[in-house]
Symmetry: C2
Subunit: 211 residues, 2 copies
DNA sequence: TGTCCGATCTGGACAGTGCTTAGATATAAA
DNA sequence: TTTATATCTAAGCACTGTCCAGATCGGACA
């Protein structure tokens, strides 16, 4: 998760403090959770004064945006990793969905920051839907490839949105206590995720194809 | 939304300050959003000192739980209101889903508090899955009624969870800017919601019935 | 080489927060 | 009426996000 070494180049006093602050924030997030993520704690973790971050970010929200950006890229990487793992579209989309939920389980605090900032702006990050390597585009492209050239854009878009919403809902609630009995019934977390995702039937482009 | 009159009985100094605080919190939430909801602001709104709430709630989290509880009940009412609006299961479940998302759109701040506290506790409120009049039970019962007696509990539960996750995902993202083009394509917000919900196909008990 | 300018960082301050403690007050019970 | 208990206030603590004046350092220019 790019908590990478800080001292690659140090063009300024501290040496790329901006990146160091984002890294520090992610470190705190993974170690102590979202409630411990104050601007002052981040500055402390990075070894600078509480006012230093204001030379690189307009306010706390802008720092969180930068943190979220790292998260979205990592999520995209995780989803891209299962690409080509199976030729069957339905099971491929299920695996992409599983990768999505897995990310949210492995980085719950980061995932929370990602959607907190998204809700504040009423929008997923700009780049995700346009840039070809974004997580959102990955899902859309998978649907498009499977659907073929005759399917209207609106159907592709609908399938993408539906899949994204379903995956997000599952991601936020997969840890809820209510679901434990069902997890056992499906042989653990992985089986449960696959069951829900394939039950939803959202990962079938056929539906979009036939309309 | 139960911002009801305060002075029904006043057995204590202030007169049911507990309820007054919850009402005040909801008022602030609807008026200024979640970021304005501090314990001190709630006390101010209710006309008491900043320390007064601590005689009725252990801490801020417990106040938020009480606020969220009001929200869950209101959500349940909204979903129950469409009950019996159509004999067809698929369209009924779609309407229940629409009612769910509509609630989140009309009370975004309250909806946010509901899930913030749920995530903190890694659980939906206790009563919802057991009490017969809870929103969660409403969905499960609808599935059960439609499926008939031969369908195993685990399938009913799976369908319920899948539908709930999908509705929540859509609720959190239905306001995102990315979806605007699609909304126009489906003739406004209502059409968009129905399209996504029925595309997901999650509201069909048949799948559960056949397994 | 020396000087200066602007980017970068610090120390200190302000208002606001959640929460605690000690004391005041009013209600219900004796 | 006295007493006990629930309720509320006042004051204070440690913390937060944010701003400001001043210190400091790097690179450009002379």
């Amino acid at each position: 998760m790019s908590t990478a070494a800080v001292a690659d180049t140090r063009p300024y006093h501290h040496g790329d403090l901006r990146r160091a602050l984002v890294d520090a924030a992610i470190r705190i997030l993974e170690r102590e959770g979202p409630s411990a993520l104050s601007l002052r704690a981040v500055a402390r973790e990075a070894g600078v004064s509480p006012a230093a971050p204001y030379h690189h970010f307009k306010d706390k929200g802008e720092l969180l945006e930068a943190v979220a950006h790292v998260g979205w890229e990592a999520l995209g990487d995780g989803m891209a990793a299962v690409q080509g793992s199976t030729p069957d579209l339905t099971s491929l989309m299920t695996e992409i969905g599983v990768a999505y939920v897995r990310f949210s389980q492995e980085h719950p605090a980061l995932y929370r920051v990602m959607y907190d900032t998204a809700r504040d702006k009423d929008s997923l990050p700009e780049g995700m839907q346009d840039k070809e390597d974004g997580a959102y585009c990955l899902v859309r492209n998978t649907f498009r490839d499977a659907a073929g050239p005759g399917v209207p854009d609106v159907d592709i878009e609908l399938a993408t949105i539906a899949a994204w919403c379903a995956a997000h809902g599952l991601a936020e609630m997969s840890g809820f206590a209510q679901f434990n009995p069902l997890k056992e019934a499906f042989g653990g977390d992985a089986g449960f995720l696959r069951a829900v995702l394939s039950h939803l039937g959202m990962f079938q482009a056929k539906q979009a194809k036939q309309d």
